[in-house]
Symmetry: C2
Subunit: 252 residues, 2 copies
């Protein structure tokens, strides 16, 4: 397919690379941020332009990969009759695109994407479309870049998936960040925890997480928990989180 990427952030960059690697042609990177657009366009062997100039009319598919709150700014000024248009946002209804074209949908990659990524990770894609044809085209496009699950998901299912994704990715990464801060302040090397982090994340491919639970909370090892809370006296914020999550584990 011939594709215009609207946006030049993390999702735009990684999906752009995936499309290019799959043999699609990126006709243009269209973005508010001229500098980021020009960097991404160079990488994708294409042209870039910002919102002041014209968007290409030659593409089959227009991917709106901008922050949730910037989608309306894009759609307010965009008329693409006869073109397939989709946004990438989990938590934004498909219908925000109904004024842009007769054929529109959603192309939501369930992955944490960062433009600095050296290698492209596997990306499950959840799509939706306003017509059967839009759905079929978006499903084909998803299959062209993903070895993972490609599945239809309406507005509500996407929003729920996003909640679960926030818990397993954003919140776990925050626990990594808090532990890294703690290690730095206590003179410990956070990188010593990496094998443990990897094992914890990878074993749930084979063992349901509830059965894989280990540690003082699930053992109801009050002595150890008490020692840990004493150490965390100097870190009231960490201590709050420790108490809440320990209680949550013990509630089962």
């Amino acid at each position: 397919m011939n594709i215009v990427i609207i946006g030049s952030g993390n999702v735009a960059a990684v999906l752009g690379r995936k499309f290019k690697a799959a043999g699609h042609t990126i006709l243009q990177v269209y973005s508010r941020n001229a500098s980021a657009a020009s960097v991404l366009a160079y990488e994708l062997d294409t042209e870039s332009t910002n919102y002041k100039t014209m968007i290409s009319r030659q593409a089959d598919f227009y991917l709106i990969a901008v922050n949730d709150d910037a989608i309306s700014e894009v759609t307010d000024n965009l008329l693409l009759p006869g073109k397939l248009v989709a946004h990438t946002a989990a938590s934004v209804p498909m219908e925000v695109l109904k004024g842009v074209s007769e054929e529109y949908g959603v192309f939501y990659p369930l992955q944490s994407l960062r433009k600095e990524m050296v290698s492209l990770p596997d990306v499950p894609v959840f799509f939706d479309g306003n017509t059967d044809t839009a759905k079929r085209k978006l499903a084909e496009l998803a299959h062209s870049i993903s070895n993972e699950k490609v599945k239809e998901a309406g507005d509500e299912a996407r929003l729920k998936l996003h909640v679960a994704a926030v818990m397993v990715s954003n919140f776990t990464n925050h626990l990594y960040a808090l532990a890294a801060d703690y290690c730095r302040k206590e003179g410990l090397d956070f990188k010593q925890l990496l094998p443990l982090i990897e094992e914890t994340a990878l074993r749930i491919k084979n063992v349901p997480p509830r059965e894989a639970q280990t540690g003082p909370a699930v053992r109801h090892d009050g002595d150890t928990i008490q020692k840990h809370l004493e150490l965390l006296q100097a870190y009231p914020h960490l201590k709050n989180i420790y108490v809440l999550l320990t209680e949550s584990i013990q509630q089962g």
Copy 2:
């Protein structure tokens, strides 16, 4: 070395396998739980016995790999003059072993170990010893089974490492478990989140977790957070955790 493993739980089983794979000889599995001991002994090509019978006196090294609160039960009845003895507990002082032998220490594997593991993960080892000789022997033993860091760590450093380990492993696994429950109740397939979980855990090898943070909390995307909290009305427990960790991310 000739080794007696005291205990037959997760740590005993996995360290026993690692010692055997490294060419050491397991002389005996000595455990309160006769049935688990016999299964582990069979796997390690050795004998098992429970606390009512005699512990072998032929070994060079005795590893006490039992739950923290069972260590005193073991040490109360154990006299091993001239032998090297170590326990595996992060949060228990080394000195609990001083009545057992003149040469003792700690052999703490910083990893989440489960006897059901099919493949043995990398295991950083933190050791301590009451004499330079004990330290040297335990360091050598650690190097024989670990490609990861082997490092001396006193009681306080081990306790602090354990706090950090609880945060990055026990608490993250609990978030996985909560998300899996949520997905099941909402009719979503939790396994669709596995690529995201893997990417989140593995990328911090290269990017500090604070820089890797993504999601609505760090973007201060109040609209999305509000939609998520509305979805979580039916899950007050999840909602509490969502609010606390979102606020924690936004405090930076």
